[in-house]
Structures are given as C-alpha cells and as structure tokens.
C-alpha cells in the first residue's frame, strides 16, 4: 500500500549522476572554447602590448565600435520590438515567410550579406542609385557600418524578444484591457516589463553580434581608419604590421564582451 512513495524514492535515486562520456564530450568543448581565451590573456599578460591601446588608430576604432554598435542595437530594438510582438501574438498570411526571412542573416555568411547590402544600397544598387541621385551615399560611411551591424544583429534580438512575449500569458493582456488599458498601455506596462529578462538578453546578444561584426562591414563599409574601421577590422589590419596591437585590441574586445555578459546576468538575477 505504500508502493507509491517507495517508487518515487527509487526514481529520485536514479537521477543521472553523469555518464563518463558526457563529461568527456563536455571537456573537449570546454577546452576548445577556453584554451584560446587563456592563450589570448597569456599573450597580453606582459602588459607591454596593452600600451598599444593608446595608439590613435586603436582609440578611433574603439570609439567607432562603441558608437556604431550601440546605435545599431538601438535600431534593432526599435524595429525589432513591433516585429517580435507581431510574431508572438498574431496569426497572419505569410507569417512563416517573415519568420524565415528574419532568420536568414543568422545563416548567411556575413561577407555575402555585405555583397547583398552593396547591391541594394551601393552606388549602383537598386535603391542606392536613386539615393545617389539625391546626393545620399551610404557605402563606405559610418552609416554603412551601422546598417551592416543592424542587418546581422537584428535576428538575435527579434528571436529573444519574441520568445519573451510568447511567455506572457494572454489573459494578463486581456485583464489589462478590461481594466481600461488600450493596446499601447498594455504593451508598455504589461508585456514589456514581463518580457524584460528576454528583451535584455536579446539586447546583449544583438549588441555582441554588432560589436563583433566583420564580414558584412568589410564588404559594405570598407576598412577606412577613423571612418569605418571598427575594432574587429582594426585587429585584422594590425595583424599585418604589429601583433602586439592586434593582441591588445583583442583583449579589449574580450573584456567588453565579458563585462556585458556578467553585467546582464547580475541585472537579471537582481530583477527576480
């Protein structure tokens, strides 16, 4: 008659303790991910290369990277919020198409994305030639950097935000409406606060992607020091002349990314 509880306790004892091959697999992946980071830090350890951070080329790349990546993250949020909500809450014709198209930048090689951007907004591009006639030139400007970054980073924000909105129970929106809140107020006072951990995660992912963007920027914006040369491009240029500079920029990027991840994690845990 007390079979049931005993049965449950057996189940509890059988919780996986970790099969050896699971650990082996994990160890390989961990080595692959951690070793290069350690190597990078070791290379930077004699502090000497860090002095290269005062190099004007490094400073301008840093400034450009920070401003463009923040701008493109803002654009991702501004344009991504309505799209994410639309995908999470509404059924409409062509939803699958929109969904797939939005994921495309994640699967596309960034260099190809850069070529595509050129064909659209370049001086001879389908939109670009009309802009050119108006005197507006996008390629090889900071605006092109922002566009390339936004193109590559937006799906990361939209994915995360959509999942966040989907997790908000519909009845909470309904309840808010019966309490006199219109769609705008429901969105900002119910949906956004409740989805905020996912939104924040999306912001960080998008920002990290924008910060690391290389291929599309290279093709669409070029590698002009002081104008379109972001940190990743500066690393590549530096590799050809001065390894120390390349290492110091890399460490800087690593710290930026790591700081963002830790900061977000702290914020989210505090929230809960």
């Amino acid at each position: 008659m007390d079979l049931a509880p005993r049965h449950i306790s057996i189940e509890a004892d059988e919780r996986p303790e970790g099969k050896p091959w699971l650990w082996v697999g994990s160890a390989f992946l961990l080595t692959l991910c951690v070793l290069p980071v350690v190597a990078l830090l070791l290379a930077a350890f004699p502090v000497r290369p860090l002095s290269k951070l005062r190099d004007p080329m490094v400073l301008s790349a840093l400034r450009l990277s920070v401003t463009t990546s923040l701008t493109s993250t803002l654009l991702c949020v501004a344009m991504g919020l309505p799209v994410a909500y639309l995908l999470a809450r509404h059924r409409f014709a062509g939803k699958v198409v929109l969904d797939t198209v939005l994921d495309l930048p994640m699967a596309l090689p960034p260099v190809v994305a850069g070529v595509a951007l050129l064909l659209a907004f370049g001086r001879a591009g389908i939109v670009g030639k009309h802009l050119d006639a108006l005197g507006v030139r996008i390629p090889f400007t900071a605006a092109a950097v922002v566009m390339a970054q936004t193109f590559m980073a937006a799906p990361f924000f939209v994915r995360s935000a959509r999942a966040g909105f989907e997790a908000v129970p519909l009845r909470l929106e309904h309840a808010a409406m019966t309490l006199g809140a219109g769609r705008w107020r429901v969105f900002w006072t119910v949906c956004v606060p409740l989805a905020s951990p996912a939104l924040l995660a999306g912001v960080v992912l998008a920002w990290a992607r924008a910060l690391g963007e290389f291929g599309a920027t290279m093709m669409f914006a070029g590698n002009l020091p002081g104008v379109t040369q972001t940190l990743p491009l500066a690393v590549m240029s530096a590799m050809e002349t001065n390894l120390d500079t390349a290492v110091s920029i890399s460490v800087l990027s690593l710290l930026l990314a790591f700081g963002a991840l830790v900061g977000t994690r702290l914020l989210v845990t505090q929230w809960r």
Binding site: P169, R171, L172, H174, A175, A176, M177, T178, L179, G180, A181, G182, T189, V190, P193, L194
Partner: protein
C-alpha cells in the same frame, strides 16, 4: 447598468447562440457543463472575443452590433472581468494591481484599499502576487475588477481552481462581495459556474448554458421545479430547504438550523450570524434506517415514505419528515427496509454533508 446580450459566435465546430438579459443591480449565475461556451460568452461581452452576429448592449448603449458595424474596444466598454486562473500582474504589488484600473481616478489609493478590505485582504496590499495563496490572489482579482467603476462585472468561476474545502469557505464571502458589487452603482453581475451550489446560493436568477445554447433562465425555485434538461434535472435533484440558523454555541464547531419541525446540525456555517438560511444536501447523502442508531450520523429523524421512484441504478424515496426530503438508496436496501408507501423509517444525514447558504 442593465446588460442585454444576443450573439452568435462560431469557431470551427463550436457554435454559441446565446440571448441573455441581466438587470441593473442583479446577480445572475450562468451555469452549465464544461465546454458549454460560458467563458466564450463572457469574453464576447467584454470584447475579448468577436461574435459574427447579434449585439451586446450595456445600459442601452451598443458595445457590439454586427448589423451596425459597432465593436467598442474592450478598454472602452466598462466591463470588469475576473478570470478563472489568476490574472494578477506578477510584476506589480497587490495595491498596484488594484490601482492599475484606477488611472486618473481621484482617491485611487483609498478606493483600492476599500475594496481590498471588502474582500478581506487589506493587510496584503504591499505583497507581490507570487507571495499569495490561490484564494488570496482571486480575492485581489475581485477587488481589482470591482474597484473600477465598471457597469457590468463578469466573474468566470473565480474560485473554480481552488480545492473544494477552500471553495466552501469562500462561497459566503463571494455572495457578500457579489451583493456589494452589484449594489454599488447598480452594476449587472454575471457569475459563471459549473457548480450547482454556486447557482443555488449566489444568484438572483440562474441561466443555464448547454452546448452553446441558453436552455433555461429563471429564478431558482422555477428552475428547480421544472427542469427542462438532464443537466438541470440533476441540479434539481437536490434537497433544498428553508431554515433558520440558530446562534452559535460556545465550545462547539457545529451549528444548528431549524428546518420545519427538524433541528439539523451542520458543520459548514462557521461564525455566520443567525438568521434565515437555506440548507442543501444531495439525496444520496441521506441514508434510511429501521430505527435510531447510536453509531450513525448526528442528524436522525423519523419520516414517512410517500413515494418510491426507480432511477437507473437506484431508488429515489420521497419522504415526509414534516418537510419534504428525497433520499437515494440502492434497491437491495429498499427490500431490507421493507419500504412501502406510508412505511415509517428513520432518515439520517451527516452534519458535514449539509451545505448552508443565505
């Protein structure tokens, strides 16, 4: 304000064709089996579901009218709703939840406190919803819906997800709340339930919704006297008697209700003030004995058999115990007891089997 609904709503194989009027200040209980369309009907009234045909009028004003192309947004309808599952905003405190619907209302904070007190959770105002029990959350949801000056209040089984024991204890409060909410500025109040006792105890009138159709509307007594469907017949198969709740006695959890010549001991009246009440119990809760027994239930009284009606698997015995009482027994028991018209028996019922309501 009065509510006047006549809608047709079709979604796949499901079809809802309902017509319903609730007067200002009236409490109507909408009862019916699950999946009959009760929640959908409420959503259509609140504007959260869109019917294909018909109208919804609140205080004579069209909130929805298919012919005239009127479909007022939910946030402009002045219809309050309490949902089956907790729909409190998890990121807002209890007080902020209630005040969500009071934007731009002067003395919003005082009004929120007033309604939180009315549902007995005044001291929880600064808590977060996740710190509350299921019952407390739904009380807050009631306060939140009522604090707003809505013209119509819709309650969708507000305590349906609670365990039966808790449900019993909140039924009294729900009735008091419903009366207060309905009387405040003459709101129409529509309460959904699938529980017959809610219907019997809470509403001025009862509407029965079965399979997307309103099958019967009327006062409790009318419905019980002439049930038109099987669902209602089951509902009507309950003993419902008028009585008088006696004052509570010290050192006893049991209360007494005088019903005609009988004095019934009941377990479910708490510390309600004495006065006129109804008692209800199912016929299968009544057992029949040849003579008084020392070990059997607290309530035992002599009765005379008036009629025997065979049901599918059992026998319904109509008794006269000074008041009419129905008992369901198995056929074998009928033979053992030698039941005939006019035979004397002892009827017995446990104190815990009797529901009491006002």
């Amino acid at each position: 304000m009065a509510l006047d609904v006549c809608i047709g709503l079709h979604r796949g194989a499901f079809s809802l064709q309902a017509e319903l009027q609730v007067a200002a200040g009236e409490i109507m209980v909408l009862i019916g089996p699950s999946a009959a369309g009760k929640t959908t009907l409420l959503k259509a009234i609140a504007g959260l579901a869109k019917p294909q045909a018909g109208f919804v009028r609140i205080g004579g004003q069209a909130a929805f009218d298919a012919k005239r192309g009127i479909d007022v947004a939910p946030w402009r309808r002045r219809v309050g709703m309490v949902f089956q599952e907790s729909a409190l905003f998890p990121h807002l405190s209890v007080r902020a939840n209630v005040m969500f619907g009071l934007r731009g209302v002067p003395n919003a904070s005082a009004r929120a406190a007033e309604w939180l007190a009315a549902v007995g959770v005044a001291e929880l105002a600064d808590r977060m919803p996740r710190e509350l029990s299921g019952g407390q959350q739904q009380r807050v949801a009631l306060a939140r819906a009522a604090a707003r000056d809505a013209d119509v209040l819709l309650l969708d089984e507000p305590f349906g997800s609670l365990d039966p024991l808790t449900r019993r204890s909140v039924r009294w409060e729900l009735r008091r709340f419903a009366q207060q909410a309905a009387q405040t500025s003459g709101r129409a109040l529509l309460l959904v339930s699938h529980d017959y006792l809610d219907a019997l105890t809470l509403g001025d009138r009862i509407a029965v919704l079965e399979d997307g159709r309103i099958t019967q509307v009327g006062k409790r007594e009318e419905l019980l006297r002439q049930p038109r469907t099987q669902f209602l017949a089951d509902l009507a198969g309950h003993n419902v008697l008028e009585g008088m709740l006696e004052p509570a006695r010290a050192n006893s959890n049991l209360r007494e209700v005088r019903v005609g010549p009988l004095m019934l001991q009941v377990a479910e009246a708490g510390d309600e003030p004495p006065g006129p009440v109804f008692v209800a119990f199912h016929p299968h809760e009544v057992s029949l004995l040849k003579a008084r027994s020392l070990v059997s239930p607290r309530n035992q009284f002599p009765a005379v058999v008036r009629e025997l009606v065979p049901l599918r698997d059992r026998l319904r015995v109509y008794l006269d115990a000074g008041v009419p009482i129905m008992a369901d027994i198995v056929r074998e028991a009928a033979a053992d007891l030698d039941l005939r018209d006019g035979a004397p028996v002892v009827a017995a019922i446990k104190a815990t089997a009797i529901e009491v309501y006002r």
